[in-house]
Symmetry: C3
Subunit: 403 residues, 3 copies
């Protein structure tokens, strides 16, 4: 008995690890033909000693969001809105002081059935772009472009595929981690045959959430694939003087426009400081700590609100910084985007040797962790960690725009 508990604790150290004993709730299942509809549980349903938490599933109404389903996790400190209808994307993470998310001109959480990725020359993805965390991929990602008569649309299809299997797990062992998992299938006959099993987990009362995703190529043969975690920040974190810190090896401007301000790539300007449509993109190569993780912090100007995040660099070697310092009305936002390629079209990325392959039957895993920091102390500590990793190193600035 003791041994098995020990084993469980060991298993638990990996992020979002699900154990056999864990209480499991199936909310959606296409294999079992289940959709529970409106649903909720809370800490009062369990005899665990944790901060009060609750999870509920409900549907959206009106306009283009009619029929979208939301899973809202209140862990006592953060309110996390997961969207199973949109590939388990996360709309926002709200805490008392800091929100992960932004204000897009698109306000409704758009039902994928209303989105045509082919619109506007393959920019249809922008019709529904307003989430904090949008996964891009898997057959392709990046800017739209033609490939043998096929239009590879902006950032691929995974964000617009409703999850097939959605489960909630409550860990019976302290700290009673909450996990929401969703399986998304990106498949077409003679084409993509990918499954991505996403997990998002958080401990009651904490300001940390983790993603643990597994991409599997279900085809019998090797395929190219792309994955980009398009995480978008504004709200309390983005303003004139906000700053990005990270374990950065090198930075390169995407184009001439980005080159102009490359010396200040890590510092943000006020809303509306660029022309409408103007955006600066930087291609960053991070380095990892001993555990294989890259570390980043985005802090506000006052340095009292921040988000810190880290992730496994081996499967996500490229980091795109997208600075969209447009007006508030047009969507002031920065994307901080770990990926297995940069966001140019697949054909370009392939030429640069940045499109990896996945064997038939192979599974590749992804680990990312985000923590909200709302005190100067906490931010200072987190920055010191990055400073130590950066000690003796210098960011290599490549002043040749790739495009």
């Amino acid at each position: 008995m003791k041994l098995s508990i020990l084993l469980l604790v060991i298993l638990m150290t990996a992020s979002c690890q699900i154990k056999q004993l864990t209480a499991e709730h199936t909310l959606i299942s296409s294999s079992k033909n289940i959709n529970v509809g409106d649903w909720q549980i809370s800490s009062s349903d369990y005899a665990f000693n944790t901060a009060a938490w609750s999870i509920r599933k409900y549907s959206l109404h009106g306009g283009l969001q009619e029929g979208v389903e939301i899973i809202e996790i209140d862990n006592g400190e953060m309110l996390i809105k997961v969207i199973p209808t949109r590939g388990m994307n996360v709309m926002s993470v709200e805490s008392k002081d800091v929100t992960l998310g932004w204000d897009s001109p698109v306000q409704e959480i758009v039902n994928p059935r209303n989105v045509n990725l082919n619109y506007n020359g393959g920019l249809g993805w922008l019709d529904s772009f307003n989430e904090w965390m949008v996964r891009c991929g898997i057959e392709y990602s990046g800017h739209p472009g033609d490939y043998n008569g096929r239009l590879m649309t902006l950032h691929g299809r995974i964000a617009h595929i409703p999850a097939s299997e959605v489960k909630v797990f409550i860990d019976p062992l302290p700290p009673h981690q909450i996990t929401v998992s969703g399986l998304i299938q990106e498949k077409w006959f003679k084409g993509a045959n990918f499954e991505i099993e996403t997990s998002l987990c958080t401990v009651p009362g904490s300001k940390t959430l983790k993603f643990h995703d597994k991409i599997t190529n279900k085809a019998s043969h090797e395929k190219e694939f792309q994955i980009l975690y398009h995480a978008n920040f504004a709200k309390e974190l983005l303003e004139k003087g906000s700053e990005l810190h990270g374990t950065i090896k090198s930075v390169q401007p995407f184009n001439d426009f980005a080159l102009k301000t490359i010396d200040k790539y890590h510092v943000y300007d006020a809303p509306g400081s660029v022309e409408p449509g103007g955006e600066k993109v930087y291609q960053i190569i991070p380095f990892a700590d001993k555990e294989g993780k890259a570390h980043f912090i985005l802090e506000n100007a006052q340095k009292n609100k921040a988000v810190a995040f880290s992730y496994d660099i081996d499967t996500l070697p490229y980091f795109t910084q997208w600075k969209n310092e447009d007006s508030l009305e047009n969507g002031y936002v920065t994307g901080l985007e770990p990926g297995n390629s940069f966001p140019a079209n697949r054909s370009h990325e392939r030429k640069q040797g940045r499109i990896p392959k996945i064997k038939g039957g192979e599974t590749i895993e992804y680990h990312l962790e985000y923590t909200i920091l709302s005190t100067q102390n906490a931010i200072q500590k987190a920055k010191e960690k990055i400073s130590k990793l950066n000690a003796g190193k210098e960011v290599k600035v490549d002043k040749n725009p790739e495009h």
Copy 2:
């Protein structure tokens, strides 16, 4: 007290004006996450002295119309079918003697989720074209065409966007006007950022309905935009010998085919008098009365059934007459279409100086009014009004097709 009532009466003179005191019912709201589902009210719910009226909301089933919502207003004289799911378009207005509407080959009221505007080279809009009143626009309208690698599809997107906020208002003051309003959002990140607040109003027992729309550019910068009120008539009004009268300054054929019969542009031929697909389009410039309104009448051959309509010309300076004298099976119909441009592709209209701009944050208003006439007397009177306005004027016929 007296003063405030006076003020209300003054406010009421503007079409579809909503007053604070008005009883308001929210039927759909994406901001409040509301959809009331099946719903109804009627004059028996109020102590007002009016013709008996009722309003009900219900859903459609079967085929491509599954899930479409309808708001049906019976004002005692007219049955008006508004389609919130399709941008507050109006399917038909039925009275005892005259119907505003037509018989398209497409019979179901097609759910936009089943429509791909990109189909058939950007003609997908025709997959669901069967309403009496279809709004076209707002980012673009007109015939399909390429614009910098983007396909501008036929007549734009606004007709295929479900309304976000839908309300019904019953005026507590005589004549107890009924108003149905709907907010439609045409938005995409880095692209369109338009809202159109539509209102349709009618007085119980009347044969008049009014539209009062407000288009707002929610972006921070100026944009081009287009709006076309694609109103389509057949049923009891269109036949061999039907005639269009109006305060017309000039008329020009769209193409050589329309040129052939330009001398009879205002008179209609029998169903099937053109080859399948044949259609005649005339570009008309109307003039306005002292109140800024253009006036038109479409009457049947016997001159005992007609529709009269008028609208503010300053924001809708162009009027397209579309004569589709095809067989009944193929959709015998005429479109009488006030717009802020003609229906060629945006690039062409731009060259002709017919694409207006709207500033960031600006709102532009539209007023249109339609009255069903079912006696020779009423029609005679309405035509006299137009005759007086036309006195001493002559329609300038430009015999050079623009295309």
Copy 3:
């Protein structure tokens, strides 16, 4: 009385013939605004002396299949899954020993609202390709291609149009045949104006099902049209050594790849015996028996499991054999496809004189019949029938690939 019964019996001999006296259940109707939702009947609701049978209608949940409706007919020997949401296609026919159907990489029964036929250069149809029986057409079918700026997408639109009118009929006279009918409308203003009234019928306790379809051109003028019955087999029937027998006049390879193995076109290889994506297509011209029917059998290697099918050849003169001997993961399958053309793009088929026309108002009928055979005896008998028809004839092998 006797006479009318006699008349009924005579009418009944035609496949899926519906008689006035037949008990009729309306499940879906857009003209009457009906969708009964979950529904079922069974033999216990009738006092008939038949094998126990049941029919139920239910909805699918999860992923891309959310909202799809299924009509499941259990006739006592076969479980037939009809999909009204997908043009009355048939997902599978399951009996004790033999299943008509296959395992596509696409596992969910995809809701057409989630399918964009324009994706991947007009290959969007492959996003949901997994049914046993998929109708292709009606405005066009075959491989994607441009036609005057319009993209004719793979295999047309009819498989992705939800049925408008769906009824179930139980014949009051022995053998109490069960019929499920569905009307599908493929219509767009100035374009297609087709209706297809499909009927599927089966007798309780039998292993035979029949299709009786009627295509009507509702336009007032003549149109080209295409129809292909894309029936797909794998499961217990397809393996190394499976064989196709038929009343075959001639066979021609589609391309050079198919030419290589043309001498064995009728014999199947093991899963994965071709490279991923490799497929062999043969263009077959069948001949008919005295009743105008072509006959085919697909049998497994052991020759103890088979499907026999026959159909009226006058309206379906071409037969496509599609051998997709890819891996099981990638979708090992053969399509045996009666059609009124071969599966190249419409423009090519037109040049070959293989695109028929249908007059305005004309109706054309289609009859197909499938029987599951699960004993060596039954298979032997069925093959003898074909052998007799083939006696003295030889298959003409044309070794010039058409493409």
